[in-house]
Symmetry: C2
Subunit: 139 residues, 2 copies
DNA sequence: CACTCTGTTCAATTCATATTGAACAGAGTG
DNA sequence: CACTCTGTTCAATATGAATTGAACAGAGTG
């Protein structure tokens, strides 16, 4: 459905989507809500003033930014936060070997997550061309 | 199961995994195969010479590299290749507006995919510290 | 060979998620 | 108000993926 709206030149009504994809009205309603929630699709009042029309964000980089933004803050950040807490939890300085290894892994995962977070943050903050220039051009 | 093996100080036998996770032998067999297939876990002949033991790659950066490598070549590359073909398909120079927009989106997706590919490629080729230095330090 | 100890396979089942469609609510319209 | 035209909701259902467990195959062992 996202692909359909992306490639449709005009915004589409719910009926049109239902007809084009052969899905039920209920399902179409759910799906549009999902896409709107992710800010990949906008709902507008149609030209007839009655039915809503849906249109996708046409800028592909902007689309990618929104997906990255959302997944970063809903999935990556909470995970990194949790790993940070577990890493700090430390406590007893003299633990047995088993726990040492466990803590080392936690710490490494935490570092990896933080770094991934920073890369994605850079991607979100910079312009599309700037980002790829910064990352891909030899310094 | 990956987490279990990651944090276990010693390699584990299939029975131990089954006991620790409360899953069936069949499921454990499937899961180990999956993890081995992704090169996240190694199978070795146990010290008793009879039962196999399983151990996870302990280097978290190496683990991440392997996941990136695999997903890149199994998911991203085929997609980018397809988008490239569709973009080139071009043909008729004078098409109607609908198709113009369609082709523009395809082309943008192709570019985005190629760029993502290059970033991941960089992450795979460079050392962990080098990568984050290159990407995150201001030039 | 019979017997045990492994790990694997795969059809049946369970489990989680997505989809359906009928009932519904709200906004216009006459 | 009754009626139509929307989009939404949600219990029932369909779909798809993971899990089970019993049967199996191979390797050792006596």
């Amino acid at each position: 459905m996202h692909a359909l709206l992306l490639t449709s030149a005009q915004p589409m009504t719910l009926d049109e989507i239902v007809a084009a994809l052969g899905i039920s009205k209920g399902s179409a309603s759910m799906s549009t809500r999902f896409l709107i929630d992710w800010q990949l699709v906008r709902r507008r009042i149609g030209p007839d003033g009655r039915r809503d029309v849906f249109e996708a964000e046409a800028d592909v980089w902007e689309m990618a930014r929104r997906i990255i933004l959302r997944r970063r803050q809903r999935e990556l950040e909470p995970l990194v936060r949790l790993l940070g807490q577990l890493t700090e939890f430390d406590a007893a300085p003299q633990q047995r070997t088993e726990s040492q290894r466990f803590r080392a892994i936690l710490s490494d995962l935490h570092t990896l997550g933080r770094n991934a977070n920073r890369v994605l943050d850079l991607a979100l903050k910079l312009d599309r061309t700037t980002f790829f220039k910064r990352v891909l051009m030899r310094p």
